[in-house]
Symmetry: C2
């Protein structure tokens, strides 16, 4: 199949690549075979879908999002992290013992991922195995890609959101051998404060045994960091608590936030090839802080973006791109280091090619990459003679789900999931 | 006329007033005669418009917005203020010599104010009298309230965006005597760097002569402040430059930004009853800084919100409410003063009752107030059993123009303006 449109992506972070009226050739396996300014003669007989004046951009990837917090979206943002968890978040997550409630909320959650053009995500479920399996089913049914994590947590939180090492192990052993190309498990200790050493040890072992990726939280909030130091006085930094148990880069690893990651910890996550998931909306909403993203990039640390719903108030990765740019400007002006802010192309790159790399070859229109794409109709925004580089910028700052007309994941057009 | 819906407003900033299935009685002059939980017997025969499960909230007020920058919305946000003006903004504003171009853009601008539920605004036009008069006409045609300012600027900027003291004076003398209830002139020196002493002096005199309000920019950016100090070494602070010419509170005065207003300047604007217009989206986008809003509120300084398009990237006051909350949290965490962040009700109050006070009795559903209101259908957001206090919070964080079903300005339903 050939798709024709104004093609825009970021093979490198430094600028948009723009191909007006370009062509993408996608083969039956859903992979990109070529991208062209002019259609080559040998493809002249392939069927063409022509999207006219619309934009064709890579799909979005949300590398940190909590599915069972969906009901709290846009609510309850008046407390810092630890009080917020106790007061609003754990009580909501406790409801996911009820599989009917879980299915109801998870269908809405997956529907909204679809709506916002998020074709793949790395998701925290709750501590409940049955509901987590249901979430994986709903993703499969929708055709969206996801790493889904049963959250391990067995201390320092209400019983209703706890599970045991045995339960988590049993679930992981079961799902680890399923071989779904799009929906996969991910080892998910919530964070050091809620995980016993036994839980962490088991998780590290299983990560290695089944070569499963890992996701967790790191250095989000100052009180949290102090608490971790009290709980694990034997570690040299917060990240070291994960490292000691084989949960820091022995397999591909996502660490969300890293607002206060510097010095020893920064060098440790770099050495262990950890991918930082930057969640600027959440870090604003909970007053957590601002992550030193420019420093991570200058150090060659891979960075992706996350909505962190419901600490983040919005399921749209487009909005997170925008907040990443804006908060980097406030960070520049309000902190002494005066690090350069993120350019628009850089933030877009984080949300597409950089985040996409966690799922394989995704997030860019290059040969061999999965065709994960959005067709964007920005006619309302394009009311004057805007150039294509202006149209993508205006879409990032002003567009929303209304503008997304067609969605592709791994080459397949994804229709609206049922609610 | 009686309107029935879930009524939500902020008579004080500290909390939302919520009247489920309440009634508002609006008389023929467009003013609120009463607000009721139960309809009084004497009103039983009045016609009722029942909005069912929808929300009825005060309309939004945008107290700082640049109409001739509308084409640049969501674009060109990679430079700090002074370079941004030179590179992107002045070249765009220079086009408003062309009255056809001006009418084309201004119709879109007013249409979008309507779309976003902004029923009254205080607007900077350009330096061109003819285009500014056209903008006033378009506002009148639409039925929206506005203070419209011909921008005075006669130095330190390209000739194409300059005017002269005589031109500005002639325009102001002409419009000052028009007696439109909704669309009115406002004295608008752009900012000290682009206004000669003659310009400022004339403006101060006319403000007093015709009792016209004043709007300008104050202490937005550090380089700007340094420049003002060089240009007016005789002043004790930036605000003092306006004060010396009768442009600081001799008549009702709006000063946008005030990111660096403290000490002497803070005491000066308090003494002169200046209203600060907080523009957090713009201050993020241009990396200007973060204004000490809590300090202003604690000092009894009135504060309104402004989109500051196109330094701000979005015409929606709803979004500015949200950014005001969020940036106050980043300000708290990133600066040493640890001032309390804005509560949701406080930011909503700034956008409604506080901003509305500049237009008279507006922005709240109290007896004698103008009925400026929006009917909001949040059915999509209200997918679970949310309480009304949660519904307003979710609308602020997640809603957009799609949700606004009916708009009232001064008691009159405002239909979609023609483009």
């Amino acid at each position: 199949m050939i798709y024709k449109a104004h093609i825009i992506d970021t093979p490198t972070k430094d600028e948009f690549r723009i191909i007006p009226n370009g062509y993408i050739h996608v083969t039956e396996d859903g992979k990109i075979a070529g991208i062209y300014e002019q259609l080559p003669a040998e493809l002249a007989n392939e069927p063409i879908t022509d999207y006219g004046d619309k934009l064709l951009i890579p799909a979005f990837y949300d590398l940190h999002v909590h599915a069972p917090q969906y009901r709290n979206l846009g609510l309850a943002l008046d407390l810092p992290l630890l009080e917020w968890l106790e007061t609003y978040t754990f009580p909501e997550e406790s409801k996911f013992r009820d599989i009917a409630y879980a299915e109801h909320v998870y269908r809405r959650f997956v529907h909204e991922l679809w709506m916002q053009g998020t074709m793949r995500s790395s998701v925290f479920a709750s501590a409940h195995p049955e509901a987590t399996a249901k979430l994986m089913d709903i993703f499969r049914e929708a055709g969206l890609g996801a790493f889904v994590g049963l959250v391990g947590m067995d201390r320092n939180c209400p019983e209703a959101v706890q599970n045991t090492t045995e339960q988590v192990q049993a679930f992981l052993e079961q799902v680890a051998t399923e071989n779904d190309p799009l929906v996969k498990p991910i080892i998910t200790p919530r964070f050091i404060p809620t995980c016993s050493r036994e839980m962490l040890k088991m998780m590290g072992k299983l990560a290695k045994k089944h070569n499963l990726p890992v996701q967790s939280h790191l250095s989000e909030n100052k009180d949290e960091i102090r608490w971790v130091h009290q709980l694990m006085p034997e570690t040299i930094c917060y990240a070291d608590g994960y490292r000691k148990y084989g949960l820091l880069g022995d397999t591909p690893t996502l660490m969300a936030h890293c607002c206060y990651t510097k010095g020893i910890e920064l060098r440790m996550i770099r050495r262990h090839h950890v991918m930082v998931v930057h969640c600027p909306t959440s870090n604003c909403n909970l007053g957590s802080g601002a992550a030193p993203i420019r420093r991570f990039l200058d150090n060659g640390i891979p960075v992706a973006l996350g909505t962190d719903v419901s600490g983040g108030h919005n399921m749209s990765v487009l909005r997170v791109i925008q907040y990443a740019i804006q908060t980097s400007k406030l960070y520049q002006i309000l902190t002494p280091r005066k690090e350069a802010f993120l350019k628009v192309s850089e933030a877009f790159y984080l949300a597409t090619k950089s985040g996409g790399s966690f799922f394989g070859q995704c997030g860019c229109f290059e040969k061999g990459y999965d065709f994960d794409a959005l067709v964007v109709d920005d006619a309302y925004l394009n009311h004057e003679k805007y150039e294509l580089n202006q149209r993508i910028e205006r879409y990032i700052f002003l567009g929303d789900d209304r503008d997304i007309k067609v969605r592709f994941c791994a080459g397949k057009e994804i229709k609206e999931p049922k609610l």
